[in-house]
Structure formats: C-alpha cells, structure tokens
C-alpha cells in the first residue's frame, strides 16, 4: 500500500475516533442551545438554527452556579496542593532515605491502590462525623490529601535520577530540602504538572462524597449543585445542559493550558531523555 494511502487511512481512523469522543460534548452544547421542548424530538436536531445563548446565564443564576463553582475551586485547589505536598515528600523518603520498615510501608502505600474507593466511604464518613466535620471544608478535602498513586508515581520518577546527582549535591552542601527544591523538583516538573492536573480533575469531578458529607448549599460542590437544576420543568432541560457545560469549563481551560505538561508527564521515562 502506498504511504500516502496508509497515511490517509490512519487519519480516517483518527477522525472517526475523534468524532466518537467529541460527539457527546457536541450534543451537550447543541442541547444547551435548543429550546427545552426540542431536545427530546426525534430525529434529534444536530444543528440549532436559533441558538438560545440565554440558557447559560439562566443556568448561572437559577442554579446559583457561582457559589458552587467557588466551593469546588477551593476544595480542588486545596486537595491538589495538599496531595502534591504529601506525595512528593513521601516519595522523596521512599526514593532517597533509608529507614526501618521502608519496604513494608511502601507496600502499604501500594495496597491502598487496590482498595476500591467505595469500600472506604462508610469508614471515612464515620470518621468525619466523629471529628464533627460534617458539612465543612475539611470533610471535603482531608480524606484526599494522601494519594497512594501519587507516592508511587513520584517515587518511580525520583528513582530515575542518577545517584551521582544526589552525591554531587550532598558534597556541594545541599541538604534534603534544598536538594528536593533545587534539583529533584525542577527535574520532575512534567510529573508534578501531570499529577497536579489528575488530582485536580479527580477532586473537581467528585460527586458521591460531597453529596454525602454536605447538607447546605454553602458547602456543596458544583457537581452536587447541578442536581438542583433537575427540579426545573421538562421544557427547561436546555438549562441543565448549559449548567453541565459551565461546570466542565474550568477543567477544559485547565487542560488547554497544561496540555503539553500532561502529555509529557504521561510519556515521562518512555524514551531516554
């Protein structure tokens, strides 16, 4: 097969996959712009001739998305920063320090990856209640500040650093903190970026946990808040779709900004630098 044909075929396959991935997002946008009663129409409308841009402002005010987004932002940013800090410090210890039971403790960290999140919901809920944290920020943040996968990823990444670099820094007079700050982290920036995005995404998209541990609008995150829109009439379905898009917008912007970091982080170590 000539190269040009093969390239064309490859692009065709990629286009098909892209359409499959993007179609739900597109149809959400279309539905947000259609009058509510047209959404259920068959055959479905694929292109709104008279887009209703009002749905977005309506979703913003009716769903009071502003405060929900703010709560989500606080929770996600705090969770991400805390998870970064704990993962990096623990990974540093596992990668560079010698201490008793190191292997056992690392195995325990890995073991947390094998426990489904659902299993921990009840014990975590009871702990939160015990601490009197129900319907507070700590309830939304604290259970997620330590990440087994974060520790694992950073430790693997740190171990790629040549031992000579550590030795050179020790002889140059750099202690652990300065070595971490001046050498380890700058050299692992793609990994830090990628993990930060994953942690943020994970936190932003949480639904079940925030639903369980909050009962006032002031502490509800945007994913929970969207539920409020469900109370609208059937002919206002477009507003739910508009709200969904608004809730996903910050993530979309974040991905656009850090796309390169994310891809580099995912392929880090795949090829020799």
């Amino acid at each position: 097969m000539p190269t040009s044909v093969r390239t064309a075929l490859r692009y065709l396959v990629l286009v098909v996959i892209a359409v499959i991935v993007l179609f739900p997002i597109y149809i959400t946008l279309v539905n947000a712009l259609l009058p509510g009663q047209d959404i259920a129409k068959r055959p479905p409308t694929l292109f709104p001739l008279h887009p209703l841009w009002d749905s977005f402002s309506q979703a913003w005010t009716d769903g009071s998305l502003g405060p929900y987004l703010r709560t989500s932002a606080i929770v996600s940013i705090a969770t991400t920063l805390a998870a970064l800090a704990t993962s990096i410090l623990a990974a540093y210890a596992f990668a560079f320090l010698e201490f008793p039971l190191k292997r056992v403790l690392f195995a325990l960290c890995l073991a947390t990856l094998m426990v489904p999140a659902e299993v921990t919901i009840i014990p975590n809920y009871r702990t939160i209640q015990l601490f009197g944290w129900y319907d507070t920020y700590p309830a939304l943040i604290v259970p997620f500040v330590a990440s087994g996968i974060g520790i694992f990823l950073f430790r693997q990444s740190f171990r790629q650093l040549p031992r000579d670099l550590r030795d050179a820094a020790v002889l140059d007079g750099y202690g652990h903190w300065r070595f971490l700050g001046r050498v380890v982290l700058p050299l692992n920036r793609p990994m830090v970026g990628a993990f930060a995005i994953f942690a943020f995404l994970g936190s932003w998209n949480q639904y079940l946990w925030p639903l369980l541990v909050t009962n006032t609008n002031a502490r509800r995150t945007v994913q929970v808040g969207l539920k409020q829109l469900e109370g609208l009439n059937a002919d206002q379905q477009n507003i739910i779709f508009a709200g969904t898009i608004l809730a996903a917008l910050p993530i979309f912007v974040l991905l656009l900004l850090f796309q390169r970091q994310l891809v580099r982080g995912l392929t880090a170590g795949a090829v020799k630098g």
């Binding site: 030795d167 050179a168 020790v170 050299l187």
Partner: protein, 339 residues
Amino acid sequence: MASAAVSLEAIEKRFGSTVALVSLTLTAEAGEFLILLGPSGCGKTTALRIVAGLEAPTAGTVRIGDQVVNDVEPKDRDVAMVFQSYALYPHLSVRRNIEFPLRARRVARDEREQRVKEAARSLQVEELLERKPGQLSGGQRQRVALARAIVRDPKAFLMDEPLSNLDARLRVEMRAELIDLHRTTGTTVIYVTHDQVEAMTMGDRIAILKAGLLQQVGSPKEVHDRPANEFVASFIGSPPMNLLPGELLGEPGLTIGVRPEAFSIDPEGTIGARVTLVESLGHEYHVACRLRDAAGTLVMVRLSAPAVPPSIGDDVQLAFTGPLHRFDSVTGARKEEAD
C-alpha cells in the same frame, strides 16, 4: 594552597555479607596524585566514597589533614568529587552548575562571579557559561564538572573514573590537562581508574586493589618493575606479563613472570614455540606463541617495529632479554631473594 593529606587507616567496609574493603591503610600525601587502580568491583570506588563521606566505613579511621573525619558531614570535609557521569545538573546552565557549590556555601555574589570566571577560564569553558549541559559534548561536560570541582578550592579532589566516558583521543587530551591542573593547583588528587595506562601516566603513586585488598602501593616505575605479586604483575603492563610455570626453567614451586618485551625471537634461544597470532600496531608487533611444553603455554612477545615479524605457524626459538620475575606459585607473592 589548601591541599591536605588524606589517609585511610585500617578501613573495613561490608555491605551485608559482601566484603568491599579489607583493612585498607593508605595515605595520599598533601599535593600528591594518588591512583587507585584495580578491576571492577575491587573496592576502589568504595574507598573513594568513604573519603568523601558518601559511605561510612564499617571500621577504621578516615583522616583529612590532621582531622579525623569519620563523623564529619560530606559537605564539611572540604573535598570535591568528579564523577564518571559528570553529574551535572541538567536543568541549570553551565554557570549555575559551576556556581552551585558556592551558592550552597552562601559565598557573596561578587566573589562567586569572580571564582566562577576563574574556574571557567582555567578549564576553557568561558564561552559555554550560558549553555545547558545537554548542549555540550562529552569533553566539554567533563571540563565543566572539573570547573565545578576546582571552584571550591578544596583540600582534595576525588575523581571517580572521570575519563571513562570519553573517546580515546579526548581521553589522552584530558589526561594531559588533568596533570596540568594538578600541577597548577597543587591539590591532593585521589583518582580511581581501571585503566592502567591512565594510572601509569598520571599518578605520582599507584595503589592497586583486588577484591578489597591492597596489593601494592608504589610509583608507576616500582609497580611495573617490581610487582609485589602475580596479580599486580599481570594487571600492569600491556600486553600483560607472561606467567610461566617454574618447571619450564627448572625452578619448580615458582611462577616466572616475563614481560612481553623481555622476550626476543632468536635462533639461539632455548625455548621452542609456534607462532599463533601476529598483531601489528605500526610501531610494534604483538606476537602470540604457543610453547612446546606439555601444557602448550601461550606467551605474548612484543617486538619493536624495525624487527621483521614471523608469520603465523612459524616455528621459532625464544630468548630472554629482560629481567625475570619470580613469584611463589602457591601464594603468588614476589620472591625477592631470587632477583
């Protein structure tokens, strides 16, 4: 000049059940260029890391100058190390790399700039100061690594096979530069290598290690001319010394060492052999011969260029033209009285 003597006294090092160093006692005098030579895994790098403080000895005393440094942090030992991998920080410019140890010691900015400039000048990397290590060739990286070491003006340089990653030509060039650097700074150097040519050409003295045991310490000429045992005899010199069973010369119980250049091909010679290989190096020939003894011992003969080399398969007679070395065939130790 801050140069200081570095001594190891009865150093033992064990990693679990593996013994890396056995009662190593060795001193590099102030200003000396001391080579630690030996095959891989002989403990030479471990010894260097113990001096640097990167490993703690299981037993024994490390001294830098007059001070026992066993409990002194690596950064406070005032030694600079040069690594085989260069160990440059890839995310920092050459300038920042050289500056790194000075920043760690909070040297004032003006002095820092001055010292970086001097170090860069003496290693001819001034033009590279704003580049990143990834944009440099191997030779340039090694120069930067050396600049980072000299910028500190330490009491001693510890060099761990610093030239091993360079190509042959560059290695010869850098060898000369290192000797020059040592001469101008006058700083003690402990230099680890497995390359006996480096050892012979650079060192004031050579310490030869095998399996964690010190075999011999001496000037290049001493270890070449009077090897303390069979191991040193066969490790120093290229091609290595031939070790023949004493029975061949009527000296049972001994091993006779003959350097390849101590043989000649001579019709009057007393040892019959057949040529199995002739290698030409341009200025000399290496001729491998199989002796006509029961074991068919293989020996290497070195002939200088004007000589006409034999051909493969020729029957030749070998004669001794240089000194013979006698070693106890059980212990391998040199038999002095026979010299």
